[in-house]
């Protein structure tokens, strides 16, 4: 007696589910994770990858089975059955993807909110006192000091670094120590806040290992806050076409333990801040 088709279908479904779960858990396509939220992004990617593998394999299998099993044999001039549709089936393959997608949407929203992507920037400025003063006087806030967007979960309590993007380099300014470098150093396990502004065209600040990217837009400062959690050197990549040397616009971020980071800060801080030629107030 042949095995009933329903049992074969069930077995194929179980096999497919196992394969996609295995693939999601065991095939790692991402680079090493070096920031606190990178792990949660990777977890989301694993879910997306599992669902994707299952869907692609399932549809491909159906396509191949159809092409082999239902191919027209020589001398067969008959048509297939005149099936015009099946309403319950249509409802099924409308409802199931819709539910899956809504669940995914809520899940990724939750991750994004956790990362700080839903932060409210209405009253958040890179230089709070001045802006508050201006607003209280009835002047519109200076667009250069308003934060227009980004990822922020630290309410300004994090260690600040000012990032300036220009054709074709990133420049890093440490406002508390008042010095500027071409290489970003960050303390391990300590929240930092990058305040990004651009001098010319749009750039994008991307560290693949942090899973974070933020456009750096002229006239619209943005913010990116996170906690690096793995020591090492990582590439900073410009991800927005910014001109002929876009591909060469790279920089380095060094994540080091807090003690060597402090040493690096001290080593680079100008010796006598008070007599520095720059007379502007130190942030």
């Amino acid at each position: 007696m042949p095995i009933p088709a329903s049992i074969l279908t069930l077995a194929a479904g179980i096999l497919l589910a196992l394969i996609s779960l295995w693939a999601g858990q065991n095939i790692n396509l991402m680079p090493v994770a070096a920031a606190d939220d990178a792990g949660t992004v990777d977890a989301l990617f694993k879910v997306l990858f599992s669902i994707g593998v299952g869907l692609l394999l399932g549809i491909t299998a159906m396509l191949v089975v159809a092409l082999v099993h239902f191919r027209r044999r020589d001398g067969d001039h008959l048509d297939g059955p005149a099936v015009e549709g099946n309403l319950p089936l249509e409802v099924f393959w409308t409802a199931v993807p819709a539910i899956v997608i809504l669940i995914l949407g809520v899940y990724s929203y939750d991750i994004y909110a956790q990362m700080g992507g839903m932060a409210d920037f209405h009253h958040h400025t890179s230089m709070p006192p001045r802006e508050v003063e201006q607003v209280s006087l009835g002047h519109p806030a200076d667009p250069e000091t308003v934060i227009w967007g980004g990822i922020d979960r630290t309410d300004g309590m994090a260690f600040p670094v000012e990032v300036t993007a220009m054709q074709f380099a990133f420049i890093f300014h440490y406002p508390r120590q008042n010095f500027t470098t071409g290489e970003l150093h960050l303390p391990l396990g300590q929240p930092v806040e990058l305040r990004l502004k651009s001098n010319d065209v749009i750039h994008a600040f991307w560290v693949p290992e942090f899973r974070l990217k933020q456009d750096v837009i002229p006239g619209q400062p943005t913010v990116l806050s996170f906690t690096a959690n793995r020591q090492g050197d990582y590439d900073i990549v410009c991800a927005e076409l910014c001109g002929p040397y876009h591909g060469g616009m790279r920089s380095k971020v060094v994540v080091e333990d807090p003690r060597s980071f402090e040493e690096w800060l001290v080593h680079n801080t100008p010796a006598t801040v008070a007599t520095a030629p720059d007379s502007s107030p130190i942030a």
């Binding site: 001039h77 249509e90 409308t94 929203y109 994008a204 990217k213 002229p218 991800a239």
Partner: protein, 561 residues
């Protein structure tokens, strides 16, 4: 109980005994013809010419990326090449061919009309294409082409050499205008020129796809035109609409640009969906599964397609609520799209599949587009998109959609309708070779690019980290295979035009009205009255049909027939 084993519906018969071979004089294809069929072929051939140009540009990109250094061409030239490649492939190949070529050739047949509603406007729309294309190409030779990508984001597009950028804008405005003229014509033709007795819900699916597409074109393209005119004023007249240095807002341009350019994806894929819905039932010998749900999913895609644009801007500093809204809207568009793919699979299931080039290209399309759709749903999730936005992951994703999706359908459609257009069949062996090479070349070229993006390679770069060299070389080999895959196709078309097997009027035993006339069709489309086809997918035998060649009298007798 049916008495007839072979379902010989009226449409299966050869439609008319008149055997008039009509040949359009060759010079009409180079002139201001008002015949929708001539215009369709003009679009197809012009589009294919630009496909070869765009492909050559893609080849230059892949050669540059064989090594991590910028050593094949100057960096400025590289940016010009990638800008031209994107612009040509979208505006001069895919949009004009799926809309202009197949829309013009097929829609009047499908609605039972002898031409489009506005033949002169139709010809004008086509004749805007060659000047726009040659203007765009010529910009390379006069001061250099635009360098800011097909997206032309300011302030970069304001600061790169002005001549190339302004020519780019003029060219895209012409092409957008052409597209709008075409869309107005399709809407009028489908709604107003239907043969009497032909209802909207009796139309072939391609007409619904063209109706939906044309609505998108009419609603979205003017927004792009407006944005580009403002951008050109920023460049030429020193205004500050998008120039932050003059108080402008660079992000507003992105909103306006993507308000058109995301629907543009559906302007490219919806007609392709329509073509697949025409091709599959004929070669599977089954009705199109779920006719009504196919229509509603087109309408759903049209509506949702208009409200997803900001998913291109998740890292641009848009307000948080916007990211939430556009995530859900974008992901949910997979639902109506998914309906279409499940319906196509159900159309194939239990059919009698002729494994010819047209059907195989459609199956390649299904695989590639499902792949691109899955990565699309992933990209809609903001936390993931933040990582892969503007990387090779995105490059791979949209090539799976527009190349693996739409271009595969264009080839399927050429294999399917070439006999109607030319009166001769294409060679199937060369066709299947073309399909195999395209499928392998395409996947070898673009599949590895997902990994590149995930691991840190941004898009639009002439130089990259050496760790990515091997995978880039694999991708370039795929591109080479893709280039080679064009050769059997070109040989096939040239040889078949000259010596191909005569096709007859209806080689596929199809029901739709374009097959119910001679091949090639006469100027009037049908010498007699236009046929009334109320069931365009009237294929399939009733479940209890008996094969007419083997059935014996006693079986009929015992079955009570």
């Amino acid at each position: 109980m049916t008495t007839n084993a072979l379902p010989v519906s009226p449409h299966h018969r050869e439609p008319h005994p008149v055997d008039v071979q009509h040949h359009t004089p060759w010079h009409e294809y180079f002139g201001f013809s008002l015949d929708h069929k001539v215009i369709g072929i003009q679009y197809l051939v012009t589009g294919f010419f630009f496909y070869l140009v765009g492909g050559a540009l893609a080849g230059m990109i892949r050669v540059e990326l064989v090594t991590p250094l910028s050593d094949f061409m100057a960096r400025e030239t590289y940016n010009q090449v990638l800008t031209l490649h994107g612009t040509i492939m979208i505006f001069l190949w895919i949009v004009p061919v799926v809309n202009g070529a197949f829309g013009n050739y097929l829609v009047p047949f499908h609605v039972g009309a002898r031409d489009m509603a506005f033949p002169r406007l139709n010809a004008v729309a086509f004749w805007m294409l060659p000047p726009a294309g040659f203007l765009l190409l010529s910009s390379y030779f006069i001061g250099g082409a635009a360098q800011s990508g097909w997206t032309a984001y300011p302030p970069l597009s304001i600061t790169t050499p002005a001549v190339g950028q302004v020519i780019w804008i003029v060219s895209v405005l012409l092409l957008g205008g052409s597209s709008i003229f075409g869309a107005v014509n399709f809407i009028a033709t489908i709604l107003k020129l239907r043969r009497s007795g032909l209802g909207l819900f009796q139309l072939p699916m391609f007409c619904w796809a063209m109706l939906g597409t044309s609505v998108l074109v009419v609603l979205a393209t003017p927004v792009l035109a407006g944005a580009l005119i403002l951008l050109s004023m920023d460049i030429v007249a020193g205004t500050g609409f998008f120039n932050p240095a003059l108080g402008g807002n660079a992000v507003v341009y992105q909103h306006l640009f993507w308000f058109y350019s995301h629907p543009a994806v559906y302007i490219m894929v919806l007609p392709a969906f329509g073509l697949v819905s025409e091709i599959l039932p004929i070669h599977a010998r089954k009705p199109l599964f779920g006719y009504r749900s196919m229509i509603y999913s087109i309408l759903g895609i049209v509506f949702l397609g208009l409200i997803v644009w900001a998913h291109h801007m998740f890292t641009s500093g848009t307000p948080p609520w916007m990211r939430l809204f556009f995530t859900i809207a974008t992901a949910i568009i997979a639902v109506p799209t998914g309906i279409k793919f499940f319906n196509w699979l159900a159309t194939l299931w239990q059919g009698k599949l002729a494994l010819n080039s047209a059907l195989l290209f459609c199956c390649g399309f299904i695989f590639n587009f499902v792949f691109g759709g899955i990565t699309g749903v992933a990209l809609a999730q903001v936390p993931f998109d933040v990582h892969v936005h503007d990387t090779y992951f995105v490059v791979a994703h949209f090539h799976y959609i527009v190349f693996g999706g739409t271009v595969f359908v264009i080839f399927a459609a050429i294999y399917h309708w070439f006999p109607k257009i030319s009166g001769r069949l294409l060679n199937e062996h060369l066709g299947r070779l073309h399909c195999l090479l395209s499928f392998l070349g395409f996947n070898i070229c673009f599949f590895p690019q997902h990994w590149l993006g995930l691991n840190g390679m941004p898009r639009r770069v002439a130089e990259y980290d050496p760790q990515f060299q091997l995978v880039n070389q694999i991708s370039s080999v795929g591109a080479l295979l893709l280039a080679i895959s064009t050769l059997p196709f070109l040989i096939n078309v040239a040889w078949s035009l000259w010596k191909g097997v005569p096709a007859g009027d209806n080689p596929w035993q199809a029901c739709t009205p374009e097959w119910l006339t001679s091949s090639p069709p006469p100027v009037e489309n049908w010498l007699h009255e236009a046929p009334l086809v109320t069931e365009p997918y009237d294929y399939g035998s009733p479940e209890d049909a008996m094969p007419v060649t083997t059935v014996q009298g006693r079986e009929l007798w015992s079955a009570g027939r």
